[in-house]
């Protein structure tokens, strides 16, 4: 019996595949990316599967955890016969299928706030990880280490913002850093490289995500 984990985009899929594998949960879950079809359609299609375990990973964006929960609950109610059993946890009454919501983002991180980040995605966690591990920031073409990525962003972002882009989402800021470090591959490719040889489940930047996934799965199996 496997749980269905729904993630928001291709980069998220790369990240969570790796995270879940390192957590020893690679065989226990199946990861699906919902950016094209929308999470609600997947939940609707799966909510009549008896006893299905659904885990929805959703970017916070500019919302708080509570606001996100309210939004998801409102959407779930359109599917009918679903009740919230506890925070971030719903039950589909007829089939017994369950859904856990795990918000993605670090809205309370002071460093991210200091960089003007107001919208949160998986990249919030990745930026936090890079600030904790500046040794990972190596310019791709020259091989030179950029020892202070946060400082680099503090200097670059105001210059770019002078030309209007608000750059208030973690995703955008992460891309700026990727450009500054000369990475020519796509974001998924970079995430894969950044996380090579890293025990990501032990990293503080990713710990909340790992714990919430573990908790969601243990609730299901209890």
């Amino acid at each position: 019996m496997r749980a269905i984990v729904m993630v928001e985009g291709p980069s998220d899929k790369v990240f969570f595949e790796r995270l879940l594998r390192l957590m020893g949960l690679g065989q226990a879950v199946e990861i699906y990316e919902y950016s094209e079809v929308g999470y609600l359609k997947i939940i609707r299609a799966q909510s009549n599967l008896p006893g299905a375990q659904l885990i929805l990973l959703r970017d916070l964006g500019s919302a708080t955890g509570e606001e996100l929960q309210t939004e998801i609950d409102k959407n779930l109610q359109t599917l009918g016969k679903v009740k919230q059993v506890e925070a971030m946890h719903w039950l589909f009454v007829e089939s017994g299928a369950t859904l856990h919501l795990i918000p993605v983002g670090l809205p309370d991180d002071d460093d991210l706030k200091g960089l003007g980040i107001r919208r949160h995605e998986l990249e919030s966690h990745l930026l936090r990880f890079l600030f904790d591990h500046p040794e990972k920031c190596i310019h791709e073409r020259t091989g030179c280490p950029i020892a202070k990525p946060k400082k680099l962003l503090q200097e670059i972002l105001p210059i770019i913002r002078r030309y209007d882009p608000p750059l208030d989402s973690a995703k955008d800021v992460f891309q700026v850093l990727r450009g500054a470090l000369g990475w020519t591959g796509g974001p998924s490719n970079w995430i894969g490289k950044l996380l090579r040889d890293v025990k990501i489940e032990c990293e503080p930047a990713f710990q909340t995500l790992a714990e919430r996934i573990k908790q969601a799965l243990s609730t299901e199996n209890s």
Partner: protein, 333 residues
């Protein structure tokens, strides 16, 4: 059109209910999940019912079948096996069913078929099962003859479908001594331009012969029920979509209700694509079957749009059971 089927003590199924049948129904599930049992249950009402009943005689000696038609028509059939006596009881019964329980058969049929349901009963007389047995015991000849006998020349439509799917140039079928006057009589396909030759149907590939049979049977039993056991077998992937498209069109234009079992994701995808293209997606439905350890049949149905969503994210419906929790206690379907 059958919309609901209830089974008890049928082959490996202790109890099962399948609701919400559409015009085209795709049954998926592991081996021994009840797919073929469902097809056979529906087949029970065609010409070979007694033989099938005898083969599948359960220990309990009885089987209940309830068919509920689209218009609310309800037909319940209770069958019993007798040994000493051959009793036939039919309260307002369908003559077709009474005829099946003749002196040569030990089957006792107790039926209750109100006359108002004659339309539904007529459907049961047009139930065909197409599976691999068609290769060793073909009925193509018989069905093709029925197409020729129709006022409306459905053989022309059959030829068009077969040629379209397999890239053939069949003009007609005929029985003749082939390839020489000394040879046995065979069913022969006469090919037109550019081939201009004849070929014995039995010499054609298995996939082509099965495809020919599917459409001959479908057109011959227009408006009836087609049971297709893994029709993807023997088919090249390039023919699958054309086959699916023609099948959807058959149901759309001739009113056949179709039940197909499959282990092939390509076949499921082909049906989804074809139904979408022909704007018949509302008539396509998927059913995942599983026989639970207690013998109850667990069924999960998915409308085509939901199945399409899952297909779009790469979810493989054939492995649905891996995502579901088995009930701890006996499940009451």
């Amino acid at each position: 059109m059958i919309t609901k089927l209830e089974l008890e003590n049928w082959r490996g199924i202790k109890r099962g209910v399948i609701e919400g049948f559409q015009r085209i129904n795709v049954l998926v599930g592991r081996n021994n999940s009840g797919k073929s049992s469902v097809l056979e249950a529906i087949l029970l009402f065609n010409q070979s019912a007694e033989k099938l009943l005898l083969q599948r005689r359960p220990k309990q000696g009885w089987i209940d079948f309830i068919f509920i038609g689209q218009d609310g028509a309800r037909v319940k059939v209770h069958t019993i096996w007798g040994t000493a006596e051959r009793l036939i009881k039919a309260d307002g019964a369908s003559p077709a069913l009474v005829a099946k329980a003749d002196d040569a058969s030990p089957v006792v049929v107790v039926g209750n078929f109100p006359e108002s349901h004659s339309k539904l009963m007529a459907t049961f007389d047009k139930v065909v099962l197409i599976d691999d047995r068609q290769l060793s015991e073909p009925n193509l000849d018989e069905w093709y003859s029925q197409l020729l006998a129709r006022e409306q020349r459905l053989d022309k439509e059959w030829i068009r479908l077969v040629n379209e799917i397999y890239g053939l140039c069949v003009e007609y079928l005929t029985r003749m001594k082939f390839p020489t006057g000394e040879s046995p009589e065979r069913l022969v396909a006469v090919l037109g331009e550019p081939e201009n030759r004849a070929v014995a149907v039995e010499w054609l590939g298995d996939g082509v012969r099965l495809g020919m049979t599917v459409f001959a049977a479908g057109l011959a039993t227009e408006g009836g029920i087609m049971l297709l056991e893994e029709p993807e077998n023997h088919q090249h992937p390039s023919a699958l979509f054309a086959l699916a498209r023609s099948l959807v069109k058959l149901s759309q234009e001739h009113g056949n209700q179709i039940f197909t079992t499959t282990h092939s994701r390509e076949w499921m995808q082909a049906l989804l694509k074809a139904a979408t293209e022909l704007e018949f997606v509302g008539a396509l439905k998927f059913f995942h079957l599983q026989i639970l350890p207690d013998g109850n049949l667990r069924v999960r149905s998915l409308d085509a749009p939901d199945a399409q969503v899952l297909e779009d994210i790469g979810y493989d419906l054939r492995f649905d059971y891996e995502f579901a929790k088995l009930p701890q206690k006996a499940e009451q379907p």
